[in-house]
């Protein structure tokens, strides 16, 4: 139905090449900044994360929606001027509904997620270590089954690389404006309904 070659437009000019050593320096700076922001945002805290799942504390939703809003506008502007590559992953309906659901159940049990867990460890929430051990074990379990999963679950509803504007047949620029407005309205509504 959707031709991924058409759906994902490539930049007209290649973005700047990054040397390998520079990438590791970038990883140090950006990773530190990410952990710093997560901790300051309170999302390294057990109660803030579980509070989101219990719909008592909307800090996580507010952070994610604001990050999506700013990130989307900036990254697509940069992409428009051929300064960055997009990194679109295939849409696999079977794997992503099942995987998302398992992730969510795990989230309720461990209370931290892979990124916020790292920030939680940094702030001395040692209970995340049990979860991290589980994350390592679960990753190996997946790798153990990866050959079989690739032949079965990952083929269910494999749609290739699909972006929302193409799915809804709306021009990308128009879609970004609509989603930006929806996110802003949503954030105002969220702040009114849930001050925290």
């Amino acid at each position: 139905m959707i031709n991924p070659g058409k759906a994902v437009k490539e930049s007209s000019a290649p973005p700047p090449a990054v040397p390998a050593g520079g990438k590791l320096v970038a990883a140090i700076i950006f990773g530190t900044a990410f952990g710093f922001l997560l901790q300051k945002g309170g999302v390294g805290k057990y109660n803030v994360l579980i509070g989101q799942l219990l719909l008592q504390d909307f800090t996580v939703a507010k952070i994610m929606m604001t990050a999506i809003l700013l990130g989307m506008v900036g990254v697509f502007t940069l992409h428009h001027f051929a300064k960055v590559n997009l990194d679109i992953h295939p849409t696999k309906i079977g794997a992503q509904t099942i995987g998302g659901m398992l992730f969510g159940i795990g989230f309720a049990l461990i209370a931290y997620c892979p990124g916020t867990g790292a920030a939680a460890l940094g702030q001395g929430s040692w209970d995340v270590l049990f979860g991290m051990a589980g994350l390592v074990a679960g990753s190996y379990l997946f790798a153990e089954m990866s050959g079989w999963l690739k032949r079965t679950v990952e083929t269910w509803g494999d749609k290739g690389k699909v972006m929302l504007p193409d799915l809804l047949h709306i021009p990308r620029g128009v879609f970004i404006v609509i989603l930006a407005v929806l996110l802003i309205v949503g954030l105002f509504a969220l702040e009114r309904a849930f001050p925290r």
Binding site: I63, F103, A108, F130
Partner: protein
């Protein structure tokens, strides 16, 4: 669209009526405004795309660590697995990024006087008691499910939840919706007093 609006506004109002015995907002929250932090992460994503040609993500770090450990105990077997053939474990961008996320969390907590140094969060204790063993079992099981789910879906709350969604990747929005469906349902079950 109508269904989406319904889900956004009706579900939370239903839930606020539910009583879980504990309230997350009774415990200390964020040091900074979520809008400031969200904006910071959004802007950070411009930099990671521009300077490193990378999206923000965390979950593959744990698969890399699992690969390193697997190679110590069963090198041939680990290298024969499909996932590690496509993603050989290495000290790469994603690995360094998450190690530094720990460091960033420490710097933020230390500068803000928020170092916790605790094995159990008070909210956990109030709901499930003070057994570290119970927390360990639940946390480990949660981690296994979470990592398996993340690898199957192709990312976590960072890779799909922020980086994929902001790039309007259809599969990322799908994944995030199901992450929250699973998470909200499971958490509400866990916190509903019988």
């Amino acid at each position: 669209m109508k269904r989406l609006l319904l889900a956004t506004f009706v579900v939370p109002s239903l839930a606020s009526a539910a009583d879980f015995g504990v309230n997350a907002t009774d415990y200390d929250g964020a040091a900074w405004s979520p809008y400031l932090v969200g904006a910071g992460i959004g802007v950070l994503s411009w930099f990671t795309f521009y300077f490193a040609d990378k999206a923000i993500g965390a979950s593959s770090f744990y698969a890399t660590v699992a690969g390193f450990i697997g190679k110590i105990f069963a090198r041939k077997h680990t290298e024969s697995l499909k996932y590690y053939q496509s993603n050989p474990p290495a000290v790469d961008y994603g690995f360094v990024f998450v190690i530094c996320t720990i460091l960033g969390g420490f710097i933020a907590a230390w500068t803000g006087g928020e170092i916790r140094n605790e094995w159990l969060h008070p909210m956990w204790v109030d709901r499930f008691g003070d057994s570290i063993a119970l927390r360990g079992i639940v946390g480990f099981a949660g981690g296994v499910l979470m990592a398996f789910g993340a690898r199957l879906a192709g990312g976590c709350t960072s890779g799909h939840g922020i980086s994929g969604t902001l790039q309007l990747n259809a599969g990322s929005w799908l994944t995030v919706i199901f992450m929250f469906i699973g998470g909200i349902a499971a958490a509400m079950l866990l916190y509903t007093s019988l």
